[in-house]
């Protein structure tokens, strides 16, 4: 507990992190050289389909499994040489829950605090604080087996933050929750960042990564295929998509627009009724395009601006859609 806490600006840094599992049918390269740099106070999203290597990476960083190769620093401590220090400075919320149904929420929080070295009274006080912050006071002295899915998940998060870790690892924090409980969980995660906690979370929900993560990495088949802010990643796909209905004047309108500096790609459909432009920033391009059409005497029948989604990013990098979940 009473560790001298340096606050490194890089909370997590990995270099060529790898993990190979030996199975009966040979070996599986679950993580194949992951390089990550995660700053203090960030919510970092780790997005990918099931089996992409998200959980394996997270479990390595949380000291649960040893990397086959590579280096990592977590909260200022070396993962290989100082796992003990890493454990003191991180919190971890596993995917499938972490509480005994016969134990009370308060009981779980108190023993968790004491396992981190808190005194009995400190652990009790901290448990009360966490219960209040997560709105679990009414259920505090009931067995966790009586909790709803959302309550149990909040308690899991509470167990991860009892000792005020610098970094919190969340493995699929909202899987299995109803929309209301999910929104609630998102609020809790944002509140954690506001208190200065660095959050590393895995998810296979596009919306979740999009809504929560300050920066994110997309992982597929053990490799990171894209990394950046959600906006950066989407912009890197091919910019925004502007579709203009031009009533048969497609070829002419295309001539007018395809050499504009902010247009990356342009095409029109077979009948010449629709022109599709890939532009850097659609919200700036649309007014400009409208003025241009107006000046040239064309009256567009429609104009739509479509922002690429993270799915487009994934599609572009892997050729597959994240929404097509492979059978687990």
């Amino acid at each position: 507990m009473a560790q001298p806490t340096r606050t490194p600006s890089r909370m997590i840094e990995t270099r060529d992190l790898r993990r190979t599992f030996k199975t009966r049918n040979g070996s599986v390269d679950a993580v194949q050289g992951v390089d990550l740099r995660i700053g203090a106070g960030e919510i970092f999203g780790f997005l990918g389909p099931n089996g992409a290597g998200k959980t394996t990476t997270l479990r390595m960083l949380a000291t649960l499994i040893a990397p086959t190769a590579g280096e990592a620093t977590v909260a200022g401590a070396d993962l290989r040489r100082e796992p003990h220090l890493v454990r003191q400075r991180i919190g971890y919320v596993p995917q499938g829950g972490s509480t005994d149904p016969a134990e009370t929420g308060r009981g779980e929080l108190v023993i968790q605090g004491r396992l981190y070295g808190m005194s009995k009274s400190d652990a009790s006080a901290r448990a009360a604080e966490v219960l209040a912050a997560l709105d679990l006071e009414a259920a505090a002295d009931r067995g966790t087996g009586t909790y709803s899915g959302g309550m149990r998940r909040r308690l899991d998060v509470g167990l991860g933050i009892v000792h005020r870790p610098q970094v919190l690892f969340l493995d699929e924090p909202t899987t299995g929750l109803d929309p209301q409980a999910r929104a609630r969980m998102w609020d809790e995660i944002r509140a954690l960042r506001e208190r200065g906690t660095t959050v590393f979370m895995t998810t296979h929900y596009l919306e979740e990564a999009d809504a929560l993560a300050d920066r994110l990495a997309i992982i597929d088949q053990g490799r990171i295929v894209a990394e950046g802010t959600s906006d950066e990643l989407k912009r890197a796909v091919a910019g925004d998509v502007v579709t203009i209905g031009v009533n048969g004047a497609g070829a002419l309108v295309l001539d007018l627009m395809q050499d504009l500096s902010f247009v990356r790609e342009a095409s029109h459909d077979h009948e010449g009724g629709l022109v599709r432009l890939y532009v850097d920033r659609g919200e700036l391009a649309v007014p400009h395009l409208l003025r241009l059409l107006d000046g040239a005497g064309y009256a567009p029948t429609s104009i739509t601006l479509h922002k690429p989604s993270l799915d487009d990013v994934f599609l572009r990098q892997t050729g597959r859609s994240l929404r097509e979940e492979p059978a687990a």
Partner: protein, 252 residues
């Protein structure tokens, strides 16, 4: 220091949780009591018919205690598999707590329950005419504690490795039954043919049973006491270090 502290925390938590579901403790008691009441009198008649001296219960109860310890401890792995499934073990592995304490705290809980069950059984055997050397009975409880510290960690290790009740059940049954039959708990090994007696002499439980019987009768000069207690103690140390490593190892 930290190991002791963590062991105490896990011990207390495990005790509290065990008593929230006392059905397992009660079931652990019912079986030996059934043996005592429904099988003991039979055995007494049989020994009287054969003209042997002394209470059959003096011979039978020490073995019954060892059997209770064997089965009580051999099944603790099932509770651990439930805890693995709840995610409790993984959650605690990420804390800086002592790995040995994860094992030792739980094992001490098992030993506490087992010794309490044994003490209760000894008391219940008194109306059946058992004559006990009190010091010997107390040392027997210590021997049972060592047996618990030998068998429970092995069951935990099996639970950690197999992670499934369906895989653990046949393993436990497959080992516990021959170990029971080769221990001389139900019938004296003296009745066995040479080959069977030779095999049984390699069964540590058979020496524990002989030691417990000598202790109950206050036959302090019997070398089986030292052999049984010493062997069980060594095996307990080996099992604890093995299981402690299993708790510490990343469960890939």
């Amino acid at each position: 220091m930290k190991t002791l502290h963590d062991t105490w925390l896990i011990y207390r938590r495990s005790m509290v949780l065990a008593f929230r579901q006392p059905i397992w403790i009660i079931l652990g008691l019912i079986q030996p009591i059934l043996y005592l009441v429904l099988f003991g009198p039979l055995l007494e008649r049989a020994t009287q018919a054969s003209g042997a001296e002394g209470s059959a219960f003096n011979w039978f109860v020490p073995g019954l205690l060892v059997q209770t310890a064997l089965f009580g401890a051999a099944f603790v792995g099932f509770a651990l598999i439930a805890e693995l499934r709840y995610g409790v073990v993984e959650r605690m592995r990420v804390t800086p707590m002592s790995r040995f304490a994860m094992l030792f705290g739980r094992s001490l809980r098992d030993v506490t329950i087992l010794v309490a069950q044994a003490a209760l059984m000894i008391v219940m055997a008194i109306p059946f005419g058992i004559r006990i050397d009190p010091v010997g009975a107390a040392v027997t409880l210590g021997l049972l504690a060592l047996l618990g510290l030998f068998i429970a960690p092995l069951s935990y290790t099996a639970g950690l490795v197999l992670k499934s009740e369906d895989a653990l059940a046949p393993l436990v049954q497959g080992i516990a039954l021959p170990v029971l039959l080769l221990s001389g708990i139900l019938l004296p090994m003296a009745l066995a043919p040479d080959w069977l007696r030779t095999i049984a002499s390699f069964n540590p439980l058979s020496h524990a049973v002989d030691a417990a019987r000598a202790l109950f009768n206050g036959q302090w000069a019997d070398p089986e006491i030292l052999l049984g207690v010493g062997m069980t103690a060594v095996l307990a140390v080996v099992a604890l270090s093995l299981a402690s490593r299993a708790f510490g190892r990343a469960n890939a």
